[in-house]
């Protein structure tokens, strides 16, 4: 058991810190969260800066430990998050890298790395959420095209995306997991309608996407026809990996600010509140150690964190909600003021036990795949 970093890893950290110190002051001001075109420009601009400095492919080619250092240091320095590049860099990109043809990799990967194209994800449907494999968006073969009709939901960045990684049903007669294909769909095609969805936090974070006889070239399919479920699982195993490193760093910073605020407001003398903050300190320290444990495991093995990510996500999503509930107790009636810090974060934290696999589905995964309990309902 060793928590120290190699000289090479420390050198990577030092160079990254130095670079961040130089470039972050040159960034334009952050755009308003509701201004999607401005957010796109800002996020792509940041990715381009990473590309020029040689950090663009850190999510793909770097060792798990180097990726951990990258995410930790960028968060600590207050650098922009992946934002609109999220689906490309963390979902579609790794899938294409693992399952695409050389031509497909050449067409789609370099623009992602250079910050030129935005991807969105068309997986969930109104009737296929936790039971994703029940998706019904239909793709009928017609010559060199698939003709696609159906609807997708919870699609982040749909308004400004160039591409959509789309799951469609190509084999309606086959068992549900064996009739799905993975397509890269240009968002400029005729027949696509995007309707933004407003979240309970008030922001238009994602959208519904309606598809009406959209003609997607067969050449845009990654993997074999009807093999899309397996192709997708490659993607989802990335989704549950180191995606939360920056957020845990941020939560630990918020926790410190919260304690300082509690002292300013004289509620630090309340032993119940103080001890809840102490317990949260243990919680996020433990989660940070679990990240280091999982990353080290990935380092020694396949490089793809497995179901251990479910263990992490279950605990982290709950801890994040508890953090902002404690923040509300510190704020008192100010917790009802949307202009106060932490109040919008409290609202957005409510998504964490639902998005990317609900806590109930994650508990099924842990119980069945790690503990070996029988499948059943």
């Amino acid at each position: 058991m060793d928590l120290s970093y190699t000289p090479e890893e420390e050198e990577f950290r030092a160079r990254l810190r130095e670079w961040l110190g130089k470039v972050l002051p040159t960034l334009p001001p952050k755009p308003s969260p509701d201004d999607w075109p401005a957010r796109r420009t800002y996020d792509l601009g940041w990715q381009r800066m990473l590309y020029d400095a040689g950090y663009a492919d850190v999510h793909w080619d770097a060792s798990p430990t180097v990726r951990l250092i990258f995410l930790e240091e960028t968060e600590k320095a207050g650098a922009p998050y992946v934002g609109a590049n999220f689906v490309g860099l963390l979902h579609a990109g790794p899938t294409i890298a693992a399952e695409g043809t050389p031509e497909q990799r050449e067409r789609w990967l370099p623009p992602m790395l250079r910050g030129e194209e935005v991807w969105c994800q068309g997986f969930s449907e109104p009737d296929a959420g936790s039971d994703l494999a029940a998706l019904r968006t239909r793709a009928r073969r017609d010559g060199d095209d698939y003709v696609v009709s159906g609807s997708k939901i919870w699609t982040s960045h749909a308004e400004v995306a160039d591409w959509c990684e789309l799951l469609v049903r190509t084999g309606p007669a086959a068992p549900k997991h064996r009739g799905i294909s993975w397509l890269a769909m240009p968002m400029s095609l005729p027949g696509i309608t995007v309707r933004p969805l407003r979240t309970l936090a008030g922001s238009a974070e994602f959208a519904e996407v309606f598809l009406d006889e959209v003609r997607v070239p067969v050449a845009n399919r990654v993997g074999d026809e009807n093999d899309g479920w397996r192709v997708t699982m490659v993607t989802l195993s990335f989704e549950r990996g180191t995606a939360f490193v920056g957020e845990v760093v941020a939560c630990r910073r918020v926790l410190g600010e919260l304690a300082a605020e509690a002292r300013r407001r004289d509620c630090w003398d309340d032993p119940v509140l103080r001890r809840r903050l102490g317990r949260l300190n243990a919680e996020f320290r433990g989660l940070w150690r679990l990240i280091q444990w999982n990353v080290s495991e990935a380092e020694g093995g396949s490089g793809v964190p497995g179901v251990g990510g479910s263990v992490f996500k279950l605990r982290y999503s709950h801890a994040r909600q508890e953090l902002y509930d404690v923040a509300a107790d510190v704020l008192g009636e100010d917790a009802l003021d949307l202009d106060r810090p932490w109040v919008p974060d409290r609202l957005s934290s409510l998504a964490y036990t639902i998005a990317a696999g609900t806590s109930q589905i994650q508990q099924n995964i842990v119980a069945e795949r790690i503990l070996g309990l029988p499948k059943g309902r």
Partner: protein
């Protein structure tokens, strides 16, 4: 960064598990014969397993952190934590922490020939059975211990908390958290109701999943605290491991249903031991206050 067990650490864990597994009381948590229920009368006081104690001594359980010149193995806290995790897992009886901390200071402690007790928090475990009683045991008064396998005395003034004792306690709690999860899963896979294993029901499945989640978060925190030996890391490990052990044992009892509530089931022994350990070193309050203070330091 390689925050995983080394080959040597895995071998050490296997060796400790092997010695504990060969002990005369191994695998026998049975009813009256060994641990009479209070209602059955007679001498319900548990005895130390002196043979196992000596075997642990020979293995280096108490001396492993002493230098080789002092007859130890020159190992560190991570190895000690792994050994204590195994002891916790197997419900090994006796003042393990006090004797381990006495190695090199009290003659015979390192080799397992002498059993050492000491006050921790407001309690002394195994005071009457120990050969040597260290610090803070003045004015000790016996109490009727809730844990049939840990005799307890109360002391008037709390002993100052020792961080290493806290870490070793957290490691024992981690062992309990792991063991009760295994027991619950074994039962959920084999016990059938409504024509299927109860582990196929989500209500049971989710109890088991949460037991594993708490144990794995505690594991990362305990092992990291063993590496850093930092007071705040140890306090965090204590909180997470106490929770994983106590709540895990409670959930394990729930999964076992009525059988879990019986004296002859092993489950209550894990729960009661976890309660005893959670009181050491000032208990939960002290750890939470230390971690709160760290936020504004």
């Amino acid at each position: 960064m390689r925050f995983q067990l080394t080959m040597e650490q895995r071998a050490l864990r296997t060796a400790v598990r092997g010695v504990i597994g060969r002990g005369p009381s191994a695998g026998r948590w049975g009813p009256a014969a060994q641990f009479p229920a209070p209602l059955e009368g007679g001498d319900a006081r548990p005895r130390l397993d002196r043979a196992l104690w000596r075997a642990l001594g020979e293995l280096g359980f108490f001396s492993l952190r002493l230098s080789e010149a002092d007859g130890g193995a020159g190992l560190g806290l991570p190895e000690a934590a792994l050994a204590f995790e195994e002891a916790g897992r197997a419900l090994v009886r006796g003042p393990l922490v006090a004797t381990h901390l006495a190695a090199g200071e009290v003659p015979g402690a390192a080799t397992g020939e002498v059993v050492v007790a000491a006050a921790d928090g407001r309690l002394v475990e195994w005071l009457a059975e120990a050969d040597v009683v260290r610090r803070g045991a003045e004015g000790a008064v016996p109490l009727r211990s809730v844990d049939p396998l840990t005799p307890l005395h109360r002391v008037p003034a709390p002993a100052p908390a020792d961080p290493v004792a806290g870490l070793l306690t957290a490691a024992e709690q981690l062992g309990t958290a792991t063991r009760v999860c295994e027991l619950a899963v074994q039962h959920a896979r084999t016990r059938e109701q409504f024509g299927q294993p109860i582990g196929a029901f989500q209500a049971v499945k989710h109890l088991c999943a949460q037991m594993l989640v708490r144990a794995e978060v505690a594991r990362a925190a305990v092992y990291a605290a063993a590496v850093t030996a930092d007071r705040t890391d140890i306090a965090a490990a204590r909180l997470l491991a106490d929770e994983a052990a106590v709540r895990g044992a409670r959930d394990c009892l729930q999964v076992h249903g009525g059988m879990g509530f019986t004296w002859e089931s092993e489950v209550h022994l894990h729960l009661k031991r976890a309660w005893v350990r959670a009181q050491r070193g000032g208990g939960v309050t002290e750890s939470e206050e230390l971690l709160a203070a760290d936020l504004v330091a």
